[in-house]
Amino acid sequence: MKLITAVIRPERVQQVKEALFQAGISGLTLSRVSGHGGEQEIIEHYRGTRVMVEFRDKVEVKMAVSEPFVDAAIEAICKSARTGEVGDGKIFVQPLERVIRIRTGEEDNSALTPINEKKLAPVS
């Protein structure tokens, strides 16, 4: 199993999520982060003070996947999150030793398959 962590643009969350679903990955944990890399800073003005914002809003998507899904996940993210402009983000792959599903105590691969309650469909 691997833990894949992707840092992406906030406006691409929706596309990335859909691409991952199509690749069969639906267990995700997201968080808001601030990134610093090659992007230009934003300038703001407040009453005679010029201010520079160096960090950009990004979203971190974390997912635990079993080995066969790693490449599919990376490809799905790359395709759906790419804009071609500096600041598209990075993907990190780390080893993962154990996964436990809290609800059942199941471990590892069997802990990774989500059990669905009934779902709703978005407008397309």
Binding site: P10, Q14, R32, A121, P122, V123
Partner: protein, 439 residues
């Protein structure tokens, strides 16, 4: 024209207090329509209308963010439901001629108010001014039941409470009923609004039961600036509430304005001093609470006491409320936002001090006698509203569940009762909502 003596009762201070020269002469003859009084009373009514949204922010800031909308909605919907009911019947029950306990329905639908005059102001303005009092009385109660009461149940209870408890009580004190006839002094509604709401709130908290985790988990205000905003709007609107109860732009209004300012300032400082003395720090929530408590305490007294006496009222009201709040943990009821401690307790202190201090402006009966009457009015109100609210809640409980489910309560009542959240992350963010239809 509906100008019957009971309707004039609330303008009595006007007649007894009027000041210098020309004004007195004018008051001697029968009061006539006066644009100045009308101007003031329209504004006063608008100010009291503005108080209820102020209360929504005062209460809304004190709850957690997942319940902010439900908390605010109870105030807003109080405006909606009470204004409509006031027209249909509430006004008539309160101010139409009737017996010692309630008015008849002769003024239902504001029948007979068109082009009529009440004292020196149009009857519609009087009716609208009084409507706003009915609105906020109900909204005040909501503070005790936040984060757990079903919205529909609150609506049903609120409508009944307004018609069956508030309107009769207003009739008894201001509309010609027995408390007014006995000589109970209540300039702007300490008994009718604050004691009534405070006691009903306590009963409602008791009947509903405590919030999940009450006494173990802390409930911390999610937005203290909102609490301050609400308190500020309340103070601003309360000028209309108190000085407007003179029913004209006269010396009585001037006195009520001044005492309201002094008592409120003193109460705010008193609360901060008590906080510091108890080893804590003076807090913003404390300042907001203290000022509201001061406003409550001076409400029944504002047109009857001198500025010096109002200082006493403010200090005493804040002190009493402060100490009740400190020991609220020992109360069995989870009165979430301290409606009883703030409105009930300060209202009672204010009502009694009105009796004790009315001599400072030469009004009321001899102190002892007046105090007795005030005590009687307070006790009656406590029992009437306490028992009445209890019965109403039990009745409503037969028709519909009073509380949301524990799961709904834990995840926040806003989602389950209103399908919406108070604050959204930016749409491109994490919890990015996905559109599923134009409904």
């Amino acid at each position: 024209m509906l100008l019957t003596p009971p309707l004039l009762r609330r303008s009595l201070p006007l007649l007894t207090l009027l000041g210098a020269g020309a004004a007195l002469a004018q008051a001697a003859k029968a009061p006539a329509f006066n644009t100045g009084d009308t101007a003031w009373m329209i504004v006063a009514a608008a100010l009291v209308l503005f108080m209820t949204p102020g209360l929504a922010f005062f209460y809304g800031g004190l709850t957690r963010s997942q319940s902010v909308l439900n908390t605010m909605m109870m105030s807003f919907v109080s405006i909606g439901i009470v204004l409509v009911l006031w027209m249909l019947g509430g006004y008539s029950i309160a101010f139409a001629p009737g017996n010692a306990f309630f008015g008849n329905l002769s003024a239902a639908g504001f029948n007979g108010l068109d082009n009529a005059v009440n004292g020196t102001i149009p009857s519609y303005v009087f009716a609208a001014f009084q409507a706003m009092f009915a609105v906020i009385a109900l909204a005040l109660i909501s503070g005790a039941v936040v984060e757990r009461m079903r919205f529909g149940a609150f609506l049903l209870f609120g409508g009944l409470w307004s018609l069956l408890i508030y309107s009769p009580l207003a009739h008894m004190v201001w509309g010609g009923g027995w408390l007014g006839v006995r000589g109970a002094l209540d300039f702007a509604g300490g008994t009718v609004i604050h004691i009534a709401a405070g006691v009903s709130a306590l009963v409602a908290a008791f009947v509903l039961g405590p919030r999940i985790g009450h006494g173990r988990t802390a409930h911390v205000p999610h937005n203290v600036p909102f609490v301050l905003l609400g308190a500020a709007i309340l103070w601003f609107g309360w000028i209309g509430f108190n000085a407007g109860s003179a029913l004209g732009a006269n010396q009585s209004a001037a006195l009520a304005f001044m005492t309201t300012c002094v008592a409120t300032a003193a109460a705010m400082l008193t609360w901060l001093v008590w906080e510091s003395v108890r080893g804590g720090k003076p807090t913003a929530v404390g300042a907001a609470t203290g000022l509201v408590v001061g406003l409550v305490a001076i409400t029944p007294a504002c047109g009857f006491v001198s500025p010096w006496a109002s200082l006493v009222v403010g200090i005493a009201g804040a002190t009493a409320s402060f100490w009740v709040v400190q020991f609220k943990q020992s109360l069995r009821a989870d009165d979430a936002l301290d409606v009883f401690a703030c409105h009930g307790v300060a209202g009672i202190v204010g009502a009694l001090l009105t009796g004790a201090l009315a001599w400072t402006t030469g009004q009321g009966k001899p102190v002892g006698e007046q105090l007795l009457i005030q005590t009687e009015a307070v006790l009656f109100t406590v029992v009437f509203c306490g028992v009445g609210s209890f019965i109403l809640l039990k009745l409503v409980g037969l028709v519909t569940a009073l509380r949301v489910t524990p799961g709904q309560e834990i995840s926040g009542i806003d989602i389950s009762s209103h399908s919406e959240q108070g604050y959204a992350e930016s749409e491109s963010g994490l919890s990015a909502p996905v559109m599923i239809g134009g409904d």
